[in-house]
Symmetry: C2
Subunit: 521 residues, 2 copies
């Protein structure tokens, strides 16, 4: 009998290698050129394959998955256009420093020169959102590239690795699977840097630490808290973060506000800003007559660690250097927020209800945009939870991110706080939630507007005439989210007062599977 | 009084220049960085602005618009991710040789270095789908770039021009609008080429002409028909075409089939293939043990004209050279297809009903995929109509293309033949159809599957296990298109027998505004 390895085609060797490398989840929207990869998933076994009806769902789910699973999923995408459809959420994933292995189908190597309809410059499309792009040359090299892609995607804190899979490298004979490639260990911060930052903190001058990335997990946050107690440094989160462990029992953290004026106010008076994973804080957009840089003119910006350095270890080392490591961390007490005593739904009453009812260990997938700005304060003392945000500013991540997080953590409730305008971008994710019976409760904030643009139009100093107003109002016709959700198999209900909202949210959180509550206000 | 021109900002000068260049329609999904462009649309007047709730709607609509209006629309897109969301339909537009002017917002020039969340390599994302990419450097150069973009997009047969608009080049002072730039005239075919092709046709050896592009309009098709009568050359259309004028009174044209075996059969026996706008026919995908090139081994491939040469003029010259110009063209007689006498909806009965009921001067936006393969024969003698197809193979064009065609031709009925799997990609276009009260009747072919993949899995020689089957079946849960359409303000009805389908189609065609018929079979 021959070595059974030699009977594998390229796709089978690739799939076996991905599984051996620890990747067990594939978010997919395949086409003809990916059929051998799909067939290999059947033959090999061990990889869960989740279908999305649009590639933006697929890539956004992979982002949400990585944030919660701390390991990459594979996406399966159909040539250049399929990758194109997934591009915006890969941009978001890149900015969130999530690891994703994209497997992008391509014509057979010998077919590309014929410029068939789907032929495109796939590497060119992939490059702006990828840290690593490779195209398979033969069925014998594809498994090795797969192993390298996983190692790349798993490189701290996470990278976008795009592997282009020409169809014949999938269907032709392979040399079998290859051994996993070990990713580089996280880069460590030098002792000199630790000493320099300690010196800054010892100066006693007003200082703030701006944090993002893995240091927003419970343990490094507690370490930061010890440093803060010793040195009086203010702890701040970056404006948007991939995953923030917060709520009762965690170290409380305020984030730098989105609005320029509010951010300037938050950062005023500091003589030192110390970046921990974060970059020096800048405005989300430029505006006429407003600054790009948000720190005071007489403030020095220091870097404890960049995003690709081990921030948890850096904080530990800094705490030791400062003699803070034996202190107790400040931890948020549980606060039972009262339910609102008003009947009307508005930003404030919605936030209060969510704060009150957020279940233990919930994952909050936040694409609430303007409404979400009211959430941090009331939810600070809610049951412990993880808060996930868009880091790349490209709306349309919410539904897919919730989907991927729910796949990663089947035992945890996912609460999606979803604005209506951004929800329309990738609403197809609701179908995947129904198909996979994912435990996602979506609170759909139906204000029938790109509300953020109404603020922004004023911010840029432009006036709203008929055309401009039309570009920001979604009320002609009104979107009926209950109908759309039901059309994709997700039970849904519309609520327009606090009492009904509370009742429906309770029912949704107690039930299995997805549920959408359209909160009209 | 000062020259009022000098009071315009960059966005206003750009908008005025676009309008002066003949562009009067903007498909938009703007964000903060585009607010001054939007405000300029209000201030200047003369540009219809149509909102899409996803950028794939915007770019696909621009493609459909160009095909019918023969002039470009502007798209307004929000930075790199917004462009990314529109990329797949720009790929389709490029392959259809449609002209599109993309205006892509960007951070203010001085803000880009700060790498804010939405910062991306916009030129890098644009390049794979664009013929021309420029980034504005200042508010004084932006109007000139706008004029050049329109000239590029209008260059025969149509190009993708991507103009990146940094926010400060929109809001800072301009030097006013600039004069339109005249596009190059279409390239003409040389007399030598005409003579060479005439000689091939005079040889009397079996020859086929494969046509695409502007030569598929009524007049050049008639010219081709005269050549065919004189020389016995077979007229064939490319497999998919941007716009084919067909039906009663037009020269009938069979297109090269999609399936490799059928295409090989169609092209067998020819000693000469003459390309008119088209490229030598190749398989849509590569398959194990099937050829990429579809012409016989002993067949010579000749080119009368490439897609960027004036095919109508080339055919006229060829007809003259052959002495065929005085002949009468073959024209399709009107055929009253009988309505089916079966009750069951299937590919055949659906095609027969559409063939019977297609209104005079209809525009058919065809993304029926597998079902559409049954359409050409029964509709050949229907009332005259234009047939628009996906040319880039990227599904998700149908709804947007119908939307753009309806905006371009408000007096013509649009019939969208839409598969369910591909429809899910850009279903948001239905909302735009409702908002603009567009006269689009969508026949939604609900077979609850990526039916084409079932064929293709066999074609590539792979086996369908559970995973593979799951990737092709859309029935868990079933999509309810009536609910989804109503959720976006489009009246809709579900039909599952021929009698009801006929009744509802009649009602839909007689009513104003959009209507969706979900044909379940």
């Amino acid at each position: 009998m021959n070595n059974p390895v030699n009977t594998m085609n390229g796709a089978e060797a690739l799939v076996q290698t991905l599984i051996d490398s620890g990747v067990d989840t594939c978010f997919a929207n395949p086409g003809t050129s990916e059929m051998h990869f799909v067939a290999a998933l059947d033959k090999i076994g061990g990889m869960r394959c989740v279908l999305g009806l649009f590639e933006g769902v697929v890539t956004g789910a992979a982002d949400g998955y990585y944030r919660m699973a701390d390991k990459p999923a594979v996406t399966l995408l159909h040539l250049g256009p399929g990758l194109g459809n997934g591009l915006a959420n890969l941009h978001n994933a890149r900015k969130a420093h999530s690891g994703v292995v994209n497997v992008i189908g391509e014509h057979a190597t010998y077919h590309i020169e014929h410029d068939a309809p789907l032929t495109a410059d796939i590497e060119g499309i992939a490059r702006p959102v990828s840290h690593w792009v490779r195209t398979g040359q033969s069925s014998t090299d594809i498994a090795q590239l797969g192993a390298e892609a996983v190692a790349q995607a798993s490189t701290y804190p996470g990278r976008i690795a795009s592997l282009i899979l020409p169809a014949n490298t999938a269907w032709e004979a392979s040399a079998g699977p290859v051994a996993p490639v070990t990713p580089d260990t996280p880069k460590q911060v030098s002792d000199d840097t630790i000493k320099q930052i300690a010196q800054v903190l010892r100066s006693g001058e007003p200082a703030a630490m701006i944090m993002t990335g893995h240091c927003l997990r419970e343990t490094p946050l507690a370490t930061a808290s010890k440093i803060a107690q010793k040195t009086n440094v203010t702890l701040l989160g970056q404006t948007s973060n991939a995953r923030l462990e917060r709520g009762a029992g965690r170290t409380p953290l305020t984030c730098v506000p989105y609005a320029v004026e509010a951010a300037l106010k938050t950062l005023s008076g500091y003589k030192h800003i110390i970046c921990v994973g974060a970059k020096a804080p800048v405005a989300f957009f430029a505006y006429p007559d407003k600054p790009s840089c948000l720190w005071p003119a007489d403030c020095q910006v220091h870097t404890l660690c960049t995003i690709d350095q081990d921030s948890a270890a850096a904080l530990e080392a800094l705490a030791c250097e400062l003699g803070a490591d034996k202190l107790s961390a400040l931890r948020q007490p549980r606060v039972e927020n009262p339910l609102p005593n008003q009947n009307a739904l508005d930003n404030k009453s919605i936030a209060a209800i969510i704060a009150h009812m957020l279940p233990e260990n919930a994952i909050v997938a936040d694409e609430g945009i303007t409404v979400s700005r009211n959430m941090p304060e009331p939810t600070a003392g809610s049951a412990p939870h993880d808060w996930l945000q868009i880091c790349g500013g490209s709306i349309g991540l919410g539904f897919p991110m919730a989907t991927g997080a729910a796949v990663a953590c089947p035992d945890r409730p996912v609460v999606a706080i979803q604005a209506d305008g951004s929800g329309m971008y990738t609403l197809q994710a609701l179908w995947t939630q129904a198909r996979e019976n994912l435990n996602v409760t979506t609170i759909l904030l139906s204000n029938r507007a790109y509300a953020i643009l109404k603020h922004e139009l004023r911010n840029v100093g432009a006036n709203a005439g008929t055309v401009a107003t039309d570009m920001m109002e979604l009320n002609r016709p009104e979107l009926d989210w209950v109908a759309m959700a039901k059309g994709m198999g997700v039970p849904a209900v519309k609520v327009s007062d606090t009492k009904t909202f509370i009742r429906e949210l309770k029912a949704a959180l107690e039930s299995d599977g997805p549920y959408l509550i359209e909160a009209v206000f």
